[in-house]
């Protein structure tokens, strides 16, 4: 069991090392990269936006009673802005993308693998790793931070509406409180970690798809493993990120 896990970790590390070898080498598959950015960014945005809005609204509504008990409901915008921007919006965005994009990449590449389309690319003189993996990993690494930033804004808007369900907070007052509270140490680390989330979702999805076997059953397993492993790694990266920001006194 442990041996198998270590072998898998080694294979993922080798697959990742190949990404860094290939990414700077010509030829650059720019049009495929843009196509993937569109697919990953544009097509994931509605799901990310709805989830972020609901999370912002729900967290605000659930936090309110506790703050009311201490007479501190005026602190609601401050409290939710920190929790949404630092933690909830980036992690929820990453988990949704792990589910939607990670499984999509795993299934697509897995299907291409078992139907010999990846071999066909290879024999037609095209480097399939560069065409399929590098473009997708670059796209997830770039687009997931953008989605997370949008999710920050949308979840805060959900929070604003949540504040106004049982109370009255003006638009200006809410946003003044949010921006007074949020500082460099809240925003930058939370955006930085989303680059790692994006990278890991892309690389795990591609690894699982590229190493798919056993026909259609294998394709299903690839999609499933892509979601499970990348979601787990998102939490591990989040844990490491909080340790680093804590060590740097940024919490």
């Amino acid at each position: 069991m442990i041996k198998n896990i270590l072998i898998e970790v080694g294979l993922i590390a080798r697959f990742t090392a190949r990404f860094f070898r290939e990414v700077f080498k010509p030829q650059f598959e720019f049009s495929e990269f843009l196509r993937q950015c569109f697919y990953i960014g544009n097509k994931s945005f509605p799901l990310v936006a709805i989830t972020a809005f609901i999370m912002g609204l729900v967290i605000t509504m659930q936090s309110r009673p506790t703050l009311v008990e201490f007479g501190a409901q005026a602190w609601l915008p401050k409290m939710i802005s920190v929790s949404l921007v630092r933690e909830i919006a980036p992690v929820i965005t990453a988990l949704i993308c792990a589910g939607k994009i990670g499984s999509g990449i795993g299934a697509e590449l897995g299907s291409m693998k078992v139907t010999e389309q990846i071999d066909a690319m290879d024999v037609s003189g095209t480097n399939p790793y560069k065409f399929l993996v590098v473009t997708r990993v670059m796209a997830t690494t770039l687009m997931i931070p953008i989605l997370a930033i949008l999710a920050d804004g949308i979840s805060l808007y959900g929070g604003y509406l949540g504040c106004n369900i049982h109370g009255v907070v003006s638009w200006d007052l809410f946003w003044n409180q949010v921006f007074d509270t949020l500082v460099f140490a809240d925003i930058v680390p939370s955006i930085l970690k989303t680059f790692f989330f994006g990278f890991i979702i892309g690389i795990i999805g591609c690894y699982q798809g590229f190493n798919s076997s056993k026909g259609t059953e294998g394709v299903g397993q690839s999609a499933n493993s892509a979601v499970v492993i990348s979601s787990l790694l998102v939490f591990i990266i989040d844990l490491l990120a909080v340790q680093i920001t804590d060590a740097l006194n940024l919490n």
């Binding site: 299907s111 139907t115 010999e116 389309q117 066909a120 690319m121 290879d122 024999v123 037609s124």
Partner: protein
């Protein structure tokens, strides 16, 4: 049969385009290729016959560099495959077409995009008009010009095979490796594909290795047949020579 005899005996070239010496490949304890020697002459169609699991598909994947041999040498157009780096391998693959048993058409792309895919990488100087002309020429060669804007999923099995053949032909390869080109097709479509392979050989003077179980296809396309049994080149000869062989292991394929 007279046509078959004429095709089987009409071949005289001496220049080797593929030369294999002492090839070995094993998967664990299963030695599928065990000292295989073989030469493919320019303009020749060679059919590799053997039982399922005898290593026929492995053989052509070794030739194209999709797998690495354990031992032995493979020379393709005077280049040793094992000595080629990635970019040299890509250059070699431009000259060697490969038709997959599953067709391996890119199912997220239209037929035009499927055919343009290798062109955009290896014929970068071609104008849009040149690319379009080459795509239409390849589709005309296989008799399917009207499918250019269709998706692979909209085509029948025989049509997909023809499109896969068109994609293989688009870079004008000198050698074509066919992996079971008529498997899964009805006898009439299978015969059409076999005749198409013969037309391609005549039109472009291509050399081909054809993996096939379909004896009708073998009869039509083979200048020479190689029997891959126990991982070695067990017997070789024209269709008529092997059909009349007294060796029971050879004869069973023709019964």
């Amino acid at each position: 049969m007279a046509e078959v005899d004429e095709h089987n005996t009409s071949f005289n070239s001496t220049e080797s385009v593929i030369s294999i010496k002492g090839l070995h490949k094993a998967f664990g304890d299963n030695k599928v290729i065990n000292g295989f020697n073989f030469d493919l002459k320019r303009g020749e169609n060679v059919v590799v016959l053997g039982k399922s699991g005898s290593g026929k598909s492995v053989l052509i994947k070794l030739i194209i560099g999709l797998m690495k041999p354990d031992q032995g040498t493979i020379e393709v157009l005077n280049d040793k495959v094992e000595n080629l780096n990635t970019s040299q391998l890509d250059e070699m693959r431009v000259k060697v077409g490969f038709l997959f048993q599953s067709n391996a058409l890119y199912d997220s792309m239209t037929i035009r995009e499927n055919l343009e895919f290798p062109l955009r990488r290896h014929r970068k100087k071609n104008s849009k008009e040149d690319v379009n002309n080459l795509v239409m020429e390849a589709l005309n060669n296989v008799g399917l010009p009207h499918t250019v804007d269709m998706m692979p999923s909209e085509l029948s099995g025989g049509m997909r095979k023809r499109i896969a053949l068109a994609r293989t032909l688009i870079l004008k390869p000198e050698i074509i490796l066919y992996d079971e080109p008529t498997t899964g097709l009805d006898p009439i479509t299978g015969k059409e594909i076999s005749n198409l392979m013969l037309d391609i050989q005549k039109k472009y003077n291509t050399s081909s290795i054809i993996i096939s179980h379909d004896i009708n296809c073998v009869k039509i396309v083979a200048n020479r047949i190689v029997m891959l049994i126990d991982g070695i080149c067990y017997a070789t000869g024209t269709y008529n020579e092997l059909e009349n062989s007294t060796d029971t292991r050879v004869k069973q394929f023709f019964e």
